[in-house]
């Protein structure tokens, strides 16, 4: 799968552009790291790549087809393979387990063994029947990441996944990212301020955004090691 942005501009208010003339290409298998200061436009860019936001100008191409010009059925089917994890987790009323299963429930394919596996792996077992409004910041973040992982997406987009996560869980997540890319041939996009060594080694490409524009764009010469 290939997702490409072609001369993408975006404005939330119709006046100021928070992304200006962005052209980028993301291919699977691959791991892409998005870096840049606060307010640079990373979240906006990731939401455009995940088809949550429609850009004000420019095209988003999926294997050459312009996503926003497709009919609803094709859009829905493309969307089905991509999952975006918010920087601030959005959880719904209910228990940890309910939230973890939410994506699968919507897709009508709850797989208990996968849910069980990830809940245990990320240390949520004791919390599984707890209401999500009583979680710590890191626990809530973990729930939202696990909710994405259990759907086994082909494209996983992570917005600041490591904030609030302890080092054990960060390491687990990096392992899972590696698995998606290397074993399943998927694609992972990550916006982060934390640069773990393992993550750096894993990256196919680094993209730096400053003030809505790409300021540097580098292939990782150490990748695939």
């Amino acid at each position: 799968m290939e997702i490409a942005l072609e001369n993408v501009w975006h404005s939330y208010d119709g006046e100021t552009y928070v992304l200006r003339n962005i052209s980028l290409r993301f291919r699977s298998p691959g791991t892409y790291l998005l870096i840049g200061p606060n307010g640079a436009g990373k979240t906006t860019l990731l939401k455009i790549v995940s088809f949550i936001i429609r850009p004000s100008r420019g095209r988003v191409l999926v294997d050459g087809a312009s996503f926003w010009d497709l009919d609803n059925a094709s859009r829905d089917s493309i969307r089905g393979s991509i999952v975006y994890v918010h920087d601030k987790p959005i959880l719904v009323r209910g228990t940890v387990k309910f939230n973890v299963e939410l994506g699968l429930r919507l897709k009508k394919r709850v797989d208990e063994s996968i849910v069980e596996y990830y809940i245990t792996r990320y240390g949520l077992k004791e919390l599984e029947n707890k209401s999500v409004n009583r979680l710590s910041a890191g626990q809530a973040k973990t729930v939202s990441i696990v909710r994405a992982l259990v759907t086994e997406p082909t494209v996983l987009v992570l917005d600041e996944p490591f904030t609030y996560l302890d080092s054990t869980r960060s390491t687990l997540l990096i392992e899972d990212i590696m698995r998606i890319v290397r074993e399943r041939g998927g694609m992972v996009l990550i916006a982060t301020h934390y640069m773990y060594r393992e993550l750096k080694a894993l990256a196919t490409e680094f993209v730096e955004i400053v003030n809505g524009e790409i300021s540097s764009h580098a292939k990782n010469v150490f990748a695939n090691s």
Partner: protein, 215 residues
């Protein structure tokens, strides 16, 4: 001998729950429609209804009276001084309350639920169902709040209901009428029942808010 307190209470509960149920349904539909508006327009609609909450119930009673009296536009229905007239009047009393207590949440939750559904790679058609699920406790407490406003109002019940014993007499009109004829003990008992109902609803709203909200 005045009508039994029990039958007045039953009538009151019936009239007010039907009126607030209708108001609740209307407010929910209105919220669904209004949540499609831009934020500025939505704020305007909300302010409009917020100001309606403050309209005295006697004024609403008067307006409904003018609608239903024999020479009025709906006079042919012949429902003035019937329970239906009170239901219509209390509908307008409860509607602004129901709308203002639910709409703000509709608006903010709709955005986050939409983001969530899309972020999970799911089509937007799942949004209403999940939104409704998220809103349930808010809807329940909105209904209870508007019900307690309807059952506690006097203006509409007196003006378009008339407080006819055995027919349109409700708790509030019974208090007003019995007090005016010096039957204080009876009036006090009814007052106590009204207070009890209000307290029960307040507790129910609290429980819904605190315990069911995040279950």
């Amino acid at each position: 001998m005045a009508e039994s307190i029990f039958s007045i209470t039953i009538r009151s509960l019936y009239v007010s729950s039907v009126a607030s149920l209708l108001a609740f349904i209307a407010a929910t539909l209105l919220s669904l429609v209004a949540s499609q508006l831009t934020r500025r327009r939505a704020e305007m609609v909300l302010s409009f209804f917020e100001s309606l909450v403050g309209v005295p119930t006697t004024v609403i009673g008067l307006l409904v009276y003018m609608l239903l009296f024999p020479g009025g536009p709906l006079g042919f229905l012949r429902i003035l001084y019937t329970p239906y007239a009170i239901i219509i009047g209390e509908f307008f009393v409860a509607l602004p309350m129901a709308f203002t207590t639910m709409f703000r949440h509709f608006y903010s939750l709709r955005d986050s639920v939409r983001e969530l559904v899309l972020s999970l790679g799911e089509p937007e058609k799942h949004v209403p169902r999940l939104l409704l699920r998220e809103l349930t406790p808010i809807l329940v407490s909105s209904y209870l709040t508007s019900f307690s406003r309807a059952i506690g109002e006097l203006g509409v019940a007196l003006i378009v209901g008339g407080g006819i014993e055995g027919y349109t007499n409700v708790l509030t009109t019974a208090i007003a009428i019995q007090t005016s004829i010096g039957n204080y003990e009876y009036a006090i008992w009814i007052g106590l029942i009204l207070i009890l109902i209000t307290i029960a609803i307040t507790f129910a709203v609290k429980i819904v808010g605190e315990y069911i909200l995040w279950r």
